[in-house]
Each structure stands twice: as C-alpha cells, then as structure tokens.
Point group: C2
DNA sequence: CGTGTAAGGAATTCTGACACG
DNA sequence: CGTGTAAGGAATTCTGACACG
C-alpha cells in the first residue's frame, strides 16, 4: 500500500515535463514558486519531477485556464489533503474498533 | 493489458539513470552500442530511458560482473524474446480453440 | 572486450529581472 | 496575476578518440 514505485519517483527533467504537459518552463517554475508543485533537485540544481507531478501540473493548468488563481488552487489542495488525512484516520479507528470487539485482524 | 503507462515511458535522462543504477555514463552508452538497450532521443539529441530500461541495465551489469560478454547477453535477450512471442501465440491458439468448441469469449 | 578519460562543442537548465496588464 | 523574454552563467550531454589490457 502507498508504494507507487514508479509514479512518485522524481526522475524527470523540466524539458521532458514541458513536452509531456505542453506547458512552458516558465509556467512550470511559476507553479512551484506558488507552492503548487514540489520537484526535487539534482546535485547540480536541476529540477526533477515525477509522473504524479506531471498529472498534477495538467490539473493545475486546467484550473488556471478556468480562471482559478494559484492561491485558490493551493487552498483547494490543502483542503483535499486534510480530507484525505481524516479519511485515513477514520478508517484506522474503525479498524481498531473491529479489532477490539471481534479480534479481527485484517479485513 | 500491456499498457505499462509509466514503466515503459522513456523520460529519464542519462544522469538520473547513472544515479539510479550506479553505472557510469560510459557503461550505459556502451551497452547501447552493443544493442542491449534502446533509449529514445530528445529533439536535441539527449538520450531518454524508461524505468524498464533501468531494470534491464541492472540485470546487464550483473551479468557483466559474472563475466558474461555483451554478445552473449544479446543472444540471451533475443532468445527470451522469441520464447515470449511463442508463448503469446500458444495462448492465442488455445483461446481460439476454446472459442471454436465452446463459443467462449474471454476467460 | 569493457571502461576510463580529456577535448570541444552543443543542448539544457538555472536565476533574477524587465515587461505587460 | 500569470506569463513571455533576453541575459549570462553553470550543469548536462554528445561524439570520436586514445589508452589499457
């Protein structure tokens, strides 16, 4: 669970990301500046992205086209992240209750 | 079936491949020269590899260390490819027989 | 045979800034 | 606000060759 070996590995340079997303390097770097995307860096300082980042960039681009501002997109992302975290906790608690009541291990 | 969207997409530059495999760029390029690996190219001429390529490179490196020559590795690869193709055909034929006899669609 | 290396050049990427709006 | 662009520099990659063994 939650391994995603390839999808989340940051190995793609910005030029390839440009080709894959159709965005300009300027746009890609700007979305990073606005804290929407978080590439890693090589020893020399070049940005490295994952396939997940590429998907995220395309989502972002779509919203921008729809007139949504980067700040709003960021708020959405934070909200979604919280929701995901809550869902994770709820699941964990239910699991705990089941274990306590029935001694169930993994469903 | 056989989509492998991320694993087979050629998007990784040689420097990252070097880091991921621990091989030198010289080695990586040499294995290409010996037709063991087939990166794509960017418009500017830079090599692009996939995650599959990286796995293959590590297999190759292991064999080289064991004293196997690139020519032999290549022969093995060709043989394996043929076997895979035969297995695919066999499967297809059996499927065809089942369809003819029982009118089965997909198992 | 497989790999290291120095050489020179070309493609890639980086940052900070100015521009427009 | 979001994006284009020219500027200068640094990191990356490329090829062909010489070397060793």
């Amino acid at each position: 669970m939650a391994q995603e070996s390839y999808k989340d590995k940051k190995v793609i340079t910005i030029g390839i990301v440009r080709e894959l997303t159709g965005l300009s390097e300027r746009q890609i770097r700007y979305y990073e500046e606005r804290k929407l995307i978080f590439p890693e860096r090589t020893a020399g300082g070049s940005r490295k992205y994952s396939f997940s980042d590429i998907e995220l960039l395309m989502d972002i681009a779509e919203k921008i086209e729809d007139g949504v501002q980067t700040y709003e997109i960021r708020q959405e992302m934070i909200k979604d992240k919280k929701k995901a975290e809550e869902a994770r906790l709820r699941k964990k608690m239910i699991q705990g209750q089941l274990n306590a009541q029935f001694g169930v291990r993994k469903i």
